[in-house]
């Protein structure tokens, strides 16, 4: 049966094995309870598919029976017309199998794909809602495998595994039933192999389960190693660590190979077992059935039918043992998915949240304290008021908490204490979307999406005209270099903008924020990799733009910010100084020291001038 992707392309268990979660329980009520929601919308398809499956199974069961009847009732008796009827009936049953399987394949795939679609988009949308603190803790690879692989596992559970298990059980019961109807004694005799099989499988499962868990873990390790090996390649080559990495990878690769071979040892064990039991069953039927036929108590047709049924008996058994593992995997996947879906965004729009109207840009921080992890407070009791239209620079030693301050203004993280207020609105009382529309931000890490430069700049304002796009690039100072590129604005940038220089990436990020045209502009070391000349030019063109806008600039190069209306000095999460450049110099405090550091380089004491 077609199972929507099995055997087709699949991303292989990236980071799949969460330590002990590689295989779950066969029945996990927490997972099961959630599933009806996904089955609901497709229940008609599932019903049709399941109906088809039943028809196919039952019809397939009837075929050996027909052979038995044909032999005993018609061939032995020389009844030609009866034989004709049976042949026609046989074809008829074949047609039933066809129809059943058609329904099964089509509708179960429909249902499966619909479920996949729904789960994937639901997970993606959920991920969009989660807060940054969640992403600080998570690995991208792991999240990806939730959306790609785990979802597929659960879909298979719903649309094939469960039904397959049902069919297999049904087939087994059906075969046993028909056998019993045909000849009770012989049937019971043949079926004595079943308990033996059952016991062996239960023991086998215990070992197999462990082996499979090891395989899943090994796959996850290989993937993780590959991922970092590839994305960190530049560091690896520049520090000449290829050999060590290779040895490490080889080690993991070998663990992977051993785990797989070990699992194969166990898995292959089922074959001789099933074969031998089949042999036993055949032997029983031949000896006892044969004696009965010889004694005239039974027709040879029954014997033939029994042999045919035995031929079909063990496939479902094998299938069931495989399914057992599948079910466990699916349950583990399911619990990972729902675990993710159950994570409440730490930052949520409150139910009464209102749309923030376009603000003037007055910003207040009242007694704000903040920490990423409880216990390690990063910002302490910050009080800050920024007038609408004011340009404020934030300076301070590295790690002082400047970026963190920005993170709470944009409500990327929630404050522990105090309030962030924009134009009188507490940022917690408005929707996040309307809040962030007011704020254009250039982050410290200039991230670009793969795509054209134009697409990247437009990211902040999708339906900007080409003219607006160019204007923004001109203000940012990016226009010149972009037009010098081979394809201008249509130049494709690689992953994270790999084919641009660091400064060029920053220019584009600037243009992106400018095009978004927000009342509040935040530049977090937006020009750290840009030369002072270009920066100066940019600031000039920005100057006209930011007139009337609130602007927060974080910079280490103090020359960048001397024109700011106000400079705020942050030290160890506290505001220690505040004032204009000149005022702060006069104060001879921390800011003065920082400037002095520069002049120490120049070996002239500029302040004596």
């Amino acid at each position: 049966m077609y199972q929507g992707g099995r055997g087709g392309p699949q991303v292989h268990g990236t980071f799949d094995a969460d330590e002990d979660e590689a295989l779950g329980k066969v029945y996990n009520s927490r997972v099961i309870k959630r599933l009806p929601k996904y089955l609901g919308p497709v229940k008609l398809w599932v019903a049709l598919g399941a109906g088809g499956m039943m028809v196919r199974t039952l019809a397939a069961l009837a075929l050996p029976y027909l052979v038995g009847i044909a032999t005993d009732k018609f061939i032995q008796a020389g009844n030609l017309s009866g034989l004709n009827i049976i042949a026609v009936a046989f074809v008829g049953v074949g047609l039933l199998v066809w129809a059943g399987q058609y329904l099964e394949t089509l509708f179960l795939s429909y249902a499966g794909q619909a479920i996949l679609y729904r789960m994937r988009t639901e997970m993606f949308a959920h991920l969009q809602r989660l807060s940054l603190s969640f992403f600080d803790r998570s690995k991208v690879g792991k999240l990806m495998s939730r959306v790609q692989n785990d979802v597929q596992q659960v879909q298979e559970l719903l649309t094939s595994d469960v039904l397959n298990a049902v069919t297999s059980v049904l087939t087994l019961i059906g075969i046993a039933g028909v056998m019993i109807v045909m000849d009770v004694r012989l049937a019971l005799l043949t079926l004595t192999v079943v308990p033996v099989l059952g016991v062996v499988i239960v023991i086998w499962q215990k070992y197999a389960r462990r082996a499979f868990i090891r395989v899943r873990r090994a796959i996850a390790m290989v993937n993780a190693q590959l991922q970092e090996g590839i994305s960190g390649i530049r560091v690896t080559q520049s520090l000449s660590r290829e050999e060590i990495n290779l040895r490490q990878f080889d080690g993991i690769n070998e663990i992977h190979q051993k785990a797989n071979i070990n699992a194969a040892k166990l898995q292959s064990l089922m074959m001789p077992l099933v074969e031998i039991l089949t042999g036993v069953a055949y032997s029983l039927v031949i000896v006892f059935g044969g004696y009965q036929v010889l004694a005239g108590e039974m027709g040879p047709g029954v014997l033939i039918a029994f042999l045919l049924y035995i031929q079909r008996f063990f496939n479902p058994v094998l299938e069931l043992t495989m399914l057992y593992t599948e079910l466990q995997r699916a349950m583990a996947s399911g619990s990972r998915i729902f675990e993710l879906l159950d994570i409440e965004p730490e930052i949520k729009d409150s139910p009464q949240a209102i749309e923030m109207p376009l603000v003037k840009g007055e910003l207040k921080l009242q007694q704000v304290s903040f920490s990423y992890q409880s216990g390690v407070e990063i910002l302490h009791d910050i009080d800050l008021a920024i007038r609408a239209g004011e340009t404020v620079a934030i300076v301070g030693r590295t790690g002082a908490g400047k970026s963190s301050l920005v993170n709470i203004i944009t409500r990327f993280y929630e404050v522990d204490k105090g309030a962030v207020i924009i134009d009188g609105y507490n940022v917690r009382s408005v929707t996040q979307q309307s809040l962030r529309r007011q704020i254009g931000i250039v982050l410290q890490d200039p991230f670009l999406f793969s795509g054209s430069i134009a697409d990247n700049i437009r990211y902040g304002h999708i339906d900007a005209t080409y003219q607006e796009l160019i204007e923004a690039a001109q203000i940012a100072g990016a226009h010149d270099f972009i037009t010098h590129l081979d394809h201008g604005y249509d130049t494709l940038v690689g992953e994270r903008g790999s084919n641009l220089s660091a400064g060029q990436r920053q220019f584009i990020c600037l243009a992106r924020a400018i095009l978004a045209n927000p009342p509040i502009l935040i530049l977090d070391e937006a020009t750290s990799n840009i030369d002072t000349n270009a920066e100066r030019l940019m600031q000039k063109s920005l100057h006209s733009l930011i007139k009337g806008r609130t602007c927060i600039i974080i910079a280490h190069r103090l020359s960048t910010i001397t024109n700011a209306d106000r400079i705020i000095v942050l030290e160890k999460g506290k505001i220690v100084e505040s004032g204009s450049h000149q005022e702060l110099l006069d104060k001879q405090g921390l800011y003065y020291h920082m400037c002095e550091a520069i002049s120490t380089f120049t070996k002239n004491n500029m302040f004596n001038l």
Binding site: R137, L226, S240, G289
Partner: protein
């Protein structure tokens, strides 16, 4: 075919195991063939009131045949996994090794997700083929011949009637898989696209949130998912039309055997046992015939997977070591650029006719506006890219004449984009010198002014750094990168804008510590803060890939050029604030 052949070279190493597996497979097939035959004979015996003793004999044969079949099937299944796993182990290692060796130019173009899928999905396809396809195809062939021979020898008319159907079924299976293959390929591409969308969304989550792009991103993702859904539905329709049809087509010969064979039994030209044999053999044959489609699919998937893998393995690293390359040993660090030109792509040059020379132990500063080629120079010295014309020599030796390893152990760069591994701080610092002692690690951390910060963390040096160093501030990441570079103790050190996110004071302290550490080493510093490189032995001012000014600080200041202009502008602001704005 050539690709299959090349893949088989990997498997060829394990030919003994493969041969053993094949022997097992032959035994499996042969004993499998014996079973229906003996069952049929048993039926005849009972139907014609023959000897009871024959039944005992039949049971012995059946039981030994199934046992033999079971054991040899175990051997085959186990051995084929061993061979396929070992093959893939080799391929994966080879791929990883090659990816590690491929130069920056390759990785500039490549997408991580794409490379990953080759080392996972594609290798997996090859494993399937080696494990099941390779011998499976041969087995199918043997089985087919064997069964045909037996059937013909029992009753050739009936055999013809039966076998006539199979080519047709086989043909349907193959043509169906041909039909579906392009759809699978499409699905594979769509999956890759979906993966890329997802990955970029997750890595760029800060940008997505900053611009409130969640709705658009979700829309984009669900557009990708919709495409995937549609393609899957197309495959489902095709499968629904074909798979059941094939099952039905196989049931027709059985009906024919029953009908025509039954007539012959009645006419006395065929025994019931023979009839049973026919039905049982047909049952045995049905599976391989149906799997013909799967096999052809597997074969073409393997070929395309092989293609994609060899695409990587065939890419020669742009940077090639000469056969007679010399071990450079410990270099003194006298560097010459002789008329060096370079371009990333073939069209726009990134460096034009660069010439300069540096004495051992000198401090060189590279300055210039964005995109002027500073990082490019930094990339050329450790030979991450090869020059297009001209040459670079260290201690008088062309760097292309040295082994890459010996060159790079002398030249270390702290790159502009800091990449940290998800590991502890200690492991990250020791990345390039795994055998470094704790004291050494602390020493370089102190030099990078990172030690105090690390000490302030609850877990100290064992603090886990999130993916790409997400939980560190910009300056902390940069200082970690400096520390890890210093630990290697190279004779030539390149700091590519390594303190851009560090405040001036800390930078000053780092510089002071560095001055001690880098004494005697040739050092390149790329920066936009001119004051800090005032005492450099050589300052190179770049513009559009050319050196426009060069010399010492005082010479350059005297020149009234760009350097002087920028320098003064940076200085002036430290003296008098706001006024500069008005002046301009």
């Amino acid at each position: 075919m050539k690709i299959l052949f090349r893949l088989m070279v990997f498997t060829g190493k394990y030919w003994v195991l493969l041969l053993l597996a094949f022997v097992c497979l032959l035994i499996t097939t042969a004993s499998g063939l014996a079973i229906p035959w003996i069952l049929g004979e048993a039926i005849d015996t009972v139907a014609s009131q023959g000897e009871r003793s024959f039944l005992i004999w039949a049971v012995v044969v059946v039981f030994s045949a199934t046992t033999l079949r079971g054991i040899s099937a175990y051997g085959y299944s186990y051995l084929s996994v061993v061979v396929s796993q070992k093959t893939c182990y080799d391929i994966r290692n080879k791929l990883y090794e090659h990816l590690q060796r491929l130069s920056f130019a390759f990785h500039d173009q490549a997408q991580t997700g794409q490379l990953m899928s080759r080392a996972t999905t594609d290798v997996e396809a090859i494993r399937m083929f080696v494990g099941r396809g390779l011998l499976g195809l041969i087995q199918m062939f043997i089985l087919f011949i064997g069964i045909s021979y037996i059937l013909v020898s029992i009753n050739w008319q009936l055999a013809l009637l039966t076998l006539a159907f199979l080519p047709f079924v086989g043909w349907r299976a193959i043509s169906n898989s041909r039909h579906i293959r392009p759809m699978w390929l499409k699905i594979q591409q769509l999956m890759a696209a979906l993966g890329t969308t997802l990955e970029e969304n997750l890595t760029g989550v800060r940008v997505v949130k900053a611009f409130s792009h969640q709705a658009e991103e979700t829309q984009k993702f669900s557009a990708d998912t919709t495409l995937l859904y549609n393609e899957h539905i197309r495959v489902a329709r095709q499968m629904a039309l074909n798979v059941p049809l094939m099952v039905f087509l196989i049931s027709i010969p059985t009906a024919l055997i029953l009908w025509y064979g039954g007539q012959q039994v009645i006419a006395g030209t065929l025994t019931i046992g023979n009839l049973t044999q026919f039905i049982l053999y047909l049952g045995m044959m049905a599976m391989p015939v149906r799997r013909l489609g799967f096999m052809t699919n597997l074969l073409s998937r393997t070929i395309s997977a092989g293609q994609r893998i060899f695409e990587i393995l065939n890419t020669r690293p742009m940077i090639q070591e000469k056969i007679d390359a010399i071990e450079a040993g410990i270099l003194k660090g006298q560097i010459n650029f002789e008329d060096v030109s370079f371009s990333y792509n073939l069209t726009t040059p990134a460096l034009k006719n660069i010439s300069f020379s540096v004495k051992p132990g000198e401090l060189v500063a590279l300055v210039g506006n964005s995109g002027s080629g500073k990082s490019t120079i930094a990339h050329l010295i450790p030979r991450f890219y090869d020059v297009k014309s001209g040459r670079i020599t260290i201690d008088g030796i062309d760097i292309r004449d040295m082994t890459i390893a010996s060159l790079r152990s002398n030249v270390i760069t702290a790159q502009q984009d800091v990449f940290l591994f998800s590991a502890t701080i200690r492991d990250n610092i020791a990345y390039g010198a795994t055998s470094a002692s704790k004291e050494q690690i602390i020493e370089v951390a102190k030099a990078a002014y990172l030690h105090d910060f690390i000490q302030s963390l609850p877990d100290g040096y064992n603090t886990w750094v999130g993916e790409r160093g997400i939980t560190l501030s910009g300056g902390e990441k940069q200082r970690l990168a400096i520390a890890r570079t210093l630990l290697v103790n190279p004779s030539i050190l390149i700091l590519d804008d390594s303190t851009s996110s560090v405040d001036a004071e800390t930078e000053y302290l780092i510089r002071r510590a560095l001055d001690k550490l880098i004494k005697g080493r040739t050092t390149f510093i790329i920066t936009h803060r001119l004051p800090i490189i005032k005492n450099a032995d050589l300052i190179l001012m770049l513009k559009e890939g050319q050196i426009i000014e060069r010399g010492k600080h005082d010479d350059l200041l005297a020149k009234n050029g760009l350097y002087q202009q920028i320098y003064n502008s940076q200085l002036s602001v430290t003296i008098v604030s706001g006024e500069t704005q008005e002046e301009e």
